[in-house]
């Protein structure tokens, strides 16, 4: 039984890593096409990608949108979770439902809806428009994570602080936020991940300044090349490294 489950584990990992391995291996392809046979090792595609101004600018845009929209989503989500967890408001179930609702809607529809409204309002596609869309998709997530993390333990700590005369801002800043720090960090990190990788909203709502997934998409559409493998591998290796470092840090702390 045990042997069987480890065999399954091995097969599952093989399935999960197969495309990534192929991606990385053929980013070193010394030839024009990233398909077998493998023709030898070269670093020229990495060189090409790293000196590609369009790609590097898009990378910067992606980071800006990811961190910006995640910051806004986290702030809104944290405040809303705090409000709903603390005060028994009429219709609070409905409000929770409304805040969670975007989670059940396809990104394509969110993007299309925003495009329609922005068109009518005369707002031009831009990174800000994309950021607004990303807040819409990440707000439910941030709200849900913060809301789930707020327990009785925390409520009593907040009450104690308030009884001692702390203002609401002080309570939020000195009590709630530090107590929720792991949840806040997790929500922020997940939001950044989703926004960083989001394609369809960014595709519909950007114009000159595009994010990395959109840039990669146009790269893909203009021809098959190991350069696409190279940028894909770079993004993967860097993100994986960040994830592993974060995980190690968290473990050491725990």
């Amino acid at each position: 039984m045990k042997r069987l489950s480890f065999l399954y584990l091995a097969l599952a990992y093989a399935f999960i890593f197969l495309p990534v391995a192929v991606l990385v291996v053929f980013s070193f392809q010394d030839g024009r096409l990233p398909v077998p046979p493998f023709q030898g090792v070269t670093l020229k595609w990495y060189e090409k990608v790293l000196s590609d101004e369009g790609l590097m600018t898009a990378l910067g845009h992606s980071a800006l949108v990811a961190f910006g929209s995640s910051g806004v989503a986290l702030a809104l989500g944290f405040l809303a979770a705090h409000g709903l967890a603390r005060v028994a408001l009429p219709g609070s179930l409905l409000m929770r439902g409304l805040l969670i609702a975007p989670m059940t809607v396809s990104y394509l529809i969110i993007g299309l809806g925003l495009l329609t409204v922005f068109n009518q309002a005369g707002i031009k596609p831009s990174l800000v428009a994309t950021g607004i869309g990303h807040v819409v998709i990440n707000l439910p997530l941030c709200f849900a994570i913060c809301f789930a993390a707020m327990g009785d333990h925390q409520k009593s700590a907040e009450r104690a602080a308030r009884d001692l005369g702390a203002s609401e801002v002080q309570v939020l800043w000195h009590i709630s936020a530090p107590m929720l720090a792991p949840a806040l960090a997790a929500a922020f990190f997940l939001s950044v991940t989703f926004s960083w990788d989001e394609f369809i909203i960014a595709f519909l709502l950007t114009r000159f300044e595009v994010t990395l997934p959109v840039e990669i998409w146009s790269m893909l559409r203009s021809g098959l090349s190991p350069a696409t493998n190279a940028i894909g591998s770079l993004v993967f290796l860097v993100s994986a490294l960040v994830v592993i470092v974060l995980e190690t840090l968290m473990r050491r702390k725990a």
Binding site: L9, L98, P102, G113
Partner: protein, 279 residues
């Protein structure tokens, strides 16, 4: 209104306003647009069910919805079936100190770019791709895998197995192994213990993960576009086609409303087990 209440509203208001302005309003605008129609190349606002009649009455349009539902259901079921044993193996058979690492490894390719991930599958599944080369070595194939529904399903499943492994694992580790032991002590067979104890307890995790899978899968444009070879259209592809080539925003809106209705139905079907706010 008490001070407390005012404060509560004050805290919730920004998030609510944001959601109203950038989620509810756009949806209403899209709904309104879905009743408009095209005259020549111009959008004419009005109230007509023409787009919906076409979406359901014209087989070439309806087929996209059918394809999407078929693909999504296949992917959802397949992903759950593959992810459950993976999550269980990690939770029960891997030594505790290695569990986090094993889980992390199982979801690491999550951090490749989504667009690139589908593209790598295209390279793997091609006629002269890595997989067919491998089959060739043992005297099999080549198999026609690229540009098929199979390729789309594989590309999707790859992504969602990672996602579901995460949600199911989170559910499983909260489960005390004592339950299983207790059931077995009481004379239940392994199978009975599984069906009557473990499965019901992990159901919320499975259903939540499956619902997220369903939602993300049915709304995705990239994966079928890159891997499906246009041998059939999914609903998002049809939406993009109507919008991009035809400039037919009303039809694209109507199809989007239909897509949203399907997801809402799926939500209703599994609402009693869903724990979206406890993800």
């Amino acid at each position: 209104m008490s001070r407390e209440d005012r404060l509560g509203w004050g805290l919730v208001a920004p998030a609510l306003l944001w959601t109203a302005a950038f989620f509810v309003l756009p949806f209403l605008a899209m709904l309104a647009l879905s009743f408009a129609h095209m005259e020549g190349r111009e959008v004419v606002h009005g109230f007509s069910f023409g787009n919906y009649v076409k979406a359901f009455g014209d087989w070439s349009q309806l087929k996209a919805l059918v394809n999407s539902i078929e693909i999504t259901l296949t992917v959802t079921v397949l992903s759950v079936l593959l992810a459950w044993p993976l999550a269980a193996t990690i939770a029960w058979s891997v030594p505790p100190r290695w569990q986090r690492a094993a889980l992390l490894a199982a979801i690491l390719p999550f951090w490749t770019s989504y667009v690139v991930r589908s593209y790598s599958w295209a390279l793997v599944l091609g006629k002269t791709g890595v997989l067919n080369r491998g089959f060739g070595l043992i005297g099999l194939g080549p198999y026609e895998m690229a540009s098929t529904r199979f390729a789309t399903v594989i590309g999707f499943t790859h992504f969602f197995v990672m996602l579901l492994t995460l949600t199911i694992y989170a559910n499983l580790v909260q489960l005390s192994p004592n339950y299983l032991r207790a059931a077995q002590d009481l004379g239940a067979s392994r199978l009975r213990a599984f069906v009557h104890v473990i499965l019901p307890l992990t159901l919320p995790g499975i259903v939540t993960g499956a619902f997220v899978t369903f939602t993300l899968c049915i709304g995705d444009y990239i994966t079928p576009q890159i891997l499906g070879g246009n041998n059939e259209l999914t609903l998002p592809q049809l939406i993009m086609l109507q919008m991009g080539r035809g400039g037919n925003f009303p039809m694209a809106s109507a199809l989007s409303v239909i897509l949203m209705a399907v997801v809402t139905l799926a939500y209703a079907a599994c609402a009693r087990w869903l724990r979206l706010d406890r993800l």
